[in-house]
């Protein structure tokens, strides 16, 4: 069939035309490249007129391929593919050339830029001549969804999907859903009681007909792809039969073993060996901590079993693996606190009255270890002065470069609580005051009026080494007040460190299980930081909440809702279209060496023993092409990125180069390599 290629060079206003002679490129393409039926330049190819131009040429001139030399394909590949489709040309017979991001915007010299542009256009023209029509694949979407993480973001996603009528499996690692929000006392800027606004959502999730709660459970394994995932969840043994337990709490009351609660109470309070993390836990079913339990330690006690009125204790319980099938996955796994021991100059762990932000939340919480009284470690003395240090582990090149987004507001909140509950003076030591959302600046103004003191300076150290009699028995905060330009030593009774929000320790591992990656700092990578913050590069896997980056509660709720909305849309449509960029094996060329089997991280290649050949499972193939490059027999071809197309692109891109050998020795002819 005669090739009739259409070449369209976009000016993009002056974005491309400013540094590349676009008219010349179009003229040259028409005159120089074989098989070009029409070559045009136009101001804005992505405009409706630009698209119409392509469609008309396809219809009137019977074009067999289209090259659009414009911006990055990441912006308009779909646009031009759609234009081809309108004119009944298969969308995969269209190729874009990146003349803007890769050429005009990065090249200062017009001659060099135009030469580079010509090479890129030639490459695309040669490539498109090798392209063949392809059809996207339709995949049914399973209406069930897996949400990993029962904090506020995960709860929001769960409830929205459940209310829409779709089933949700909510997996939570801790014995209860609720996340960090359950630990807080009040939330800024409204000073709502955190548990009061959270528990209605928790209890709804616990009772919703469309929600299956899998608490004290972890995601083990994921396979499959969008619309059709198979997941394995490990339900860790609670040693309590959840079908019988009524949550009466007698076992907890009677358990003789008390340990420090390093989880929910942030190390400030205690719990029993059999416990629920907090009174409003959902579900109310306790868990036995085998590291603390006397029975697991030395074979005695079992008081809980003896006293349980329904015989729900089951010491022989084992972990259970639950297999689920879902259409989509939402990761809402939240954050963990920076280890404040890493900044020894602040004295955490060494000086008793230095607290982390989470410890201070528990201190303020009426259901916490001190019943909401703000007191020192001795459990009774009220502080007369409190210092709150911002950015502990945040905005710090040695630890976390990023800002944790919430600590300035939380610091103000702590200031308010101290002023409300005690007669103490309270100082904030800040670098900047980041109060950026609705009501936040007003909250800052309120604290200014309430009499909180603010010192702009990064604290050098917190010490108990007194230099003057007035400093004896106090914690001294050494800081430069940068607005005044003086060193200060401020003596306080209590110091609260605003520790950074960090990714969970196993975030990366979990992400890899689902096929998504993390940024260098460990937060999950979204598809686009501005325009697509909940989708990931892997279709069917979404992220919501702080696991994508530090954020406050409203933002977490919004992301949870956004993920739910995207998934609802997919379920309502019933199917998704998958790009047909998949590998396929020519069985007559396959020798059964199985090298490709080990290459695929998605297990998308299976070996057919009786036939002695490997086969690609198209619905699982993500199209990376590694197997294509690895096959020693050249038996695997990668659709839309096959060898013929890439080799043609290479030849075209070097149209103005001298083939090696230079008359001295024959170069390696391209035909001698894999076709």
């Amino acid at each position: 069939m005669a090739r009739k290629i259409g070449i369209y060079v976009c000016h993009c206003g002056s974005n491309i035309a400013g540094t590349i002679d676009v008219e010349e490129v179009a003229r040259w393409a028409g005159a120089t490249i074989d098989g070009v039926a029409v070559a045009r330049d136009y101001k804005f190819m992505c405009s409706s007129l630009g698209q119409q131009m392509i469609e008309e040429d396809i219809r009137k001139k019977g074009l067999t391929g289209v090259v659009v030399a414009a911006c990055s394909p990441h912006l308009h590949e779909k646009t031009f593919r759609r234009a081809c489709e309108h004119a009944e040309l298969n969308p995969y017979l269209c190729q874009m050339v990146n003349l803007r991001e890769h050429c005009s915007w990065v090249c200062a010299d017009k001659a060099a830029g135009t030469a580079k542009a010509k090479a890129l256009v030639y490459a695309a023209a040669e490539r498109v001549k090798q392209q063949v029509p392809l059809e996207p694949m339709e995949v049914q979407v399973n209406p069930a969804t897996l949400v990993v993480g029962g904090g506020i973001a995960g709860l929001q996603a769960t409830l929205e999907l459940a209310d829409a009528g779709y089933h949700v499996y909510l997996v939570e690692r801790e014995p209860s859903i609720g996340g960090h929000m359950a630990q807080f006392d009040k939330t800024f800027p409204t000073l709502d009681c955190s548990a009061c606004i959270l528990t209605p959502k928790m209890s709804e999730a616990g009772q919703h007909a469309n929600v299956t709660l899998l608490t004290y459970s972890e995601l083990e394994e994921v396979s499959g792809s969008v619309g059709n995932f198979k997941v394995k969840v490990r339900k860790k043994a609670r040693y309590v039969d959840e079908t019988i337990c009524t949550g009466c709490g007698i076992c907890i009351e009677k358990c003789p073993r008390r340990v420090v609660d390093n989880g929910f109470e942030a190390g400030l309070g205690q719990r029993k060996a059999i416990y629920t993390p907090f009174p409003q836990a959902v579900p109310r079913i306790p868990v036995i901590d085998t590291a603390a339990c006397i029975w697991f330690d030395r074979g005695k006690c079992r008081a809980c079993e003896k006293l349980c009125p329904t015989n729900a204790i089951a010491f022989d319980q084992e972990d259970e693996i639950v297999e689920l099938q879902v259409g989509n996955i939402v990761l809402a796994t939240g954050w963990k606190l920076f280890d404040c021991h890493k900044l020894p100059q602040y004295g955490y762990g060494r000086l008793p009255n230095v607290y982390t932000n989470m410890e201070f939340e528990r201190l303020c919480n009426a259901a916490g270890p001190t019943n909401g009284k703000i007191v020192l470690r001795d459990g009774k003395t009220e502080p007369k002065s409190v210092a709150v240090i911002h950015c502990v582990g945040s905005r710090d090149v040695r630890h976390n470069e990023s800002c944790s987004a919430v600590c300035c507001m939380a610091a103000l909140k702590f200031g308010h609580l101290v002023l409300e509950k005690t007669k103490a003076e309270v100082y904030s030591f800040y670098i900047d005051m980041r109060t950026y959302h609705k009501g936040y600046e007003e909250f800052f103004q309120r604290l200014l009026k309430e009499g909180m003191h603010f010192v702009r300076g990064k604290v050098a150290e917190v010490t108990d080494a007194a230099r003057t009699p007035g400093e004896e028995g106090k914690l001294i905060v050494q800081v430069e007040d940068t607005l005044v330009g003086q060193q200060q030593r401020i003596a306080v009774d209590m110091v609260v460190l605003m520790g950074a929000l960090e990714p969970q320790a196993d975030a990366k591992e979990l992400g890899l299980k689902c096929g998504i990656s993390c940024s260098m700092q460990g937060w999950y990578t979204e598809r686009h930081p501005k325009l697509d913050p909940v989708a990931t590069m892997t279709d069917g896997v979404f992220v919501a909440g702080a696991c994508q980056g530090p954020k406050d509660i409203p933002a977490s709720v919004v992301q949870g809702a956004a993920a739910a909305a995207r998934i609802s849309g997919m379920i309502a449509k019933g199917h998704v279209m998958i790009e047909p960029i998949v590998a396929s094996i020519q069985e007559d060329k396959c020798s059964g060496c199985k090298i490709c089997n080990t290459m695929c991280p998605y297990n998308a290649i299976e070996f057919d023993e009786p036939a002695g050949v490997s086969r690609v499972i198209s619905s699982m193939c993500k199209g990376c092409g590694t197997c294509v490059a690895a096959c020693p027999a050249g038996a695997i071809s990668g659709a839309h990125f096959n060898n013929a197309q890439i080799m043609a692109e290479i030849r075209g891109i070097l149209w103005d180069a001298v083939p090696s050998g230079n008359g001295q020795a024959p170069g390696v002819p391209a035909a001698a390599l894999n076709p």
Binding site: P601, Y602, A665
Partner: protein
């Protein structure tokens, strides 16, 4: 030997997810860098067939750049490790064929590293400019790097076979 007016022609294979987007970012940020690298988009650095590199050099490229996601961050999980393995074998092969191994370079660039990719390209272009145009020599077997590569194969085999106490 090196001609400062020589403009190398380099083919760059960039993966769709990280390095191609890094190049896009360099463009959005209007960072200016050497125009000598002509980019071909692949879905993954793991798609780079050694034949592509050889074909590029045979068709007149003076150098080849392979760019992909950082190890551990490949969009397809672990395929950049396979690219890395192929790259090392390829360099050895090029040396055995009498080509300066420095003409092939592997660079990791995440989608956020536009500046870093631009700088890596500038450095590569300068290095290739110093090496001069690729002129596959007639007596390639006699090239020193070829001799070295062939001898090192024997040596590496020997070391691999040694059983340490």
């Amino acid at each position: 030997m090196s001609d400062p007016t020589f403009e190398p022609k380099i083919v760059g294979f960039c993966c769709n997810w990280c390095s191609y987007r890094a190049a896009d970012l360099a463009g959005t940020a209007r960072i200016k860098y050497a125009p000598n690298v002509r980019i071909i988009r692949l879905m993954c650095s793991g798609r780079v067939d050694p034949g592509f590199v050889l074909s590029a050099l045979a068709n007149g490229a003076d150098g080849v750049l392979i760019a992909g996601c950082h190890p551990g961050e490949c969009h397809y999980l672990s395929q950049n490790y396979k690219a890395m393995r192929r790259y090392h074998v390829l360099k050895h092969t090029l040396a055995a064929l009498g080509l300066e191994p420095d003409r092939l370079r592997l660079v990791w660039a995440s989608a956020a590293e536009g500046q870093q990719l631009a700088e890596a390209i500038d450095r590569l272009v300068e290095d290739i400019r110093k090496l001069g145009p690729l002129r596959w020599p007639a007596n390639w077997e006699a090239e020193p790097c070829c001799q070295e590569a062939v001898e090192s194969i024997a040596r590496e085999h020997q070391e691999a076979m040694e059983v340490l106490p």
